[in-house]
Symmetry: C2
Subunit: 281 residues, 2 copies
């Protein structure tokens, strides 16, 4: 924040269809969610696009129904947003962003962030879903953008059983794309599969945080167990190997969706952000 222009921190909840985006993070010459949303904020506030910080960066093709970001905007522009509409700035921002943004981005809400809120560092945990279809003749063509076909019938209980062996605090290096100096230790809180009413197998993966490609590699280690091509203890052996196993398929991006980012009660936001920053830095 600058001393000259007092700013207000906003929390923005949003959803997007990742099909036609090169992921969340801005990249020159690419259509990304971050740039698209930052541009819209710039337009409605008549300022250079403000910087968004997100609680869950997603790769190209990955979707989100429960993404959360924060941004700091000048108080003056924020308070002037409603014009003569009689709306509150939060409502005015929602309406104007919704009017500007393309159909593949949905703004769920815009609100003043509580003190200490940081969309990335205050987050307690992230939850993702992954959709698999093992009955090609029952595929729903309307869900092909967020469902990945697999070639053999899946044993959902076997997959959940294998998933459970990976829960807890571990070094997930076996499932992470290597990044120099970055920790690959995470707490996996939930990793199971169930069959939805429409017959699709939905995986749920939740952790305090994820390293790059981790969810897709985790689903990729469970699928061969579900197909009976690997033993139920293979995922744990891969984990314990602590290096990437070429036998683990990193599953396609389009089956994956960021469903929820969970934050602590307002009073604990600042403390949580301190802890998380210390862990990551």
């Amino acid at each position: 924040m600058s001393e000259l222009t007092p700013e207000v921190r906003l929390r923005m909840d949003l959803a997007y269809d990742g099909t036609h985006f090169s992921g969340w993070a801005s990249q020159p010459g690419q259509r990304t969610v971050q740039q698209t949303v930052e541009h819209a904020w710039g337009l409605i506030l008549r300022i250079p696009p403000p910087r968004l910080t997100v609680g869950g960066r997603t790769d190209a093709g990955v979707h989100a129904r429960g993404s959360v970001a924060h941004l700091d905007v000048p108080v003056q522009g924020w308070e002037a947003l409603p014009g003569r509409s009689g709306r509150r700035p939060e409502q005015a921002a929602w309406h104007r962003l919704t009017g500007i943004l393309p159909a593949d981005i949905v703004v769920r809400s815009v609100r003043m962030a509580p003190p200490g809120f940081d969309a990335r560092f205050s987050a307690l945990r992230r939850r993702y879903s992954y959709r698999l279809n093992d009955r090609p003749e029952w595929a729903d063509p309307l869900r092909r953008h967020d469902t990945v076909p697999v070639g053999q019938p899946l044993d959902v209980l076997a997959m959940s059983g294998a998933g459970n062996t990976l829960l807890g605090l571990h070094d997930f290096a076996a499932f992470c794309r290597k990044r120099q100096g970055a920790s690959t230790t995470r707490t996996l809180l939930r990793f199971d599969f169930s069959r939805a009413p429409d017959g699709v197998v939905v995986g749920t993966v939740e952790a305090d945080a994820f390293c790059h490609s981790m969810v897709r590699a985790l689903v990729g280690v469970a699928v061969p167990v579900g197909q009976g091509r690997r033993d139920p203890d293979w995922p744990l052996r891969v984990l314990q190997g602590r290096t990437r196993d070429p036998g683990v398929r990193v599953m396609p991006a389009h089956g994956l969706c960021l469903e929820e980012i969970v934050y602590p009660p307002d009073a604990e936001l600042g403390a949580r952000a301190e802890t998380a920053r210390a862990l990551r830095d």
Copy 2:
């Protein structure tokens, strides 16, 4: 059927995402489901594209999860389909069509039709769904291709109540695009609305048959009741008017999906087709 080439009648169940099709029915220079599927059959059988007869023609942009069609193909080509694969012709046809068809068409099954089967005239009834979203901030961007946003909260019970007043055998001229000499008398078997777990309002409409644009006009007469803008007895008054009411909005195509076509037991197929043909001709 020709006397020179003995033919076999096949029943084909299929689903499609109507977004990028100009509807079911073949039209010169347009991408339609019928032409696309007929072309694929021609390729796998190495014959000129055979003619498909469908149980539910859909307009441009309308989807299907439960469409049924029939076609007659030469016995010789049919029996030769598996080649040396060891498959039955039904399985071979499914695999080869699935390999050829674009991702927005899914073949559910191909099988020999029982004697007397006609995909159009043997059908007892058709069931459609219609997806409405009345909470813009909770829209799922991944479902925007098959969900129509409406501007005010919907009272689902009021819509179902109004829908019920239209059930039974009536002249539905008020909801049909006029066609010279064609009957607009139909039996409406089901017309109600419920809120799905994801918050979307799903309308279900079932009848022995539908005239053109009838489902979309029926949903269009129920929506203003759900919004409190029209009385619950307005839909019945419109029906009784027996002419198209300019106050009834024909709802957008992309919320509509053909879910199921119901046929009688095999033994009654021929008799049903006779009756239906007599009614329509």
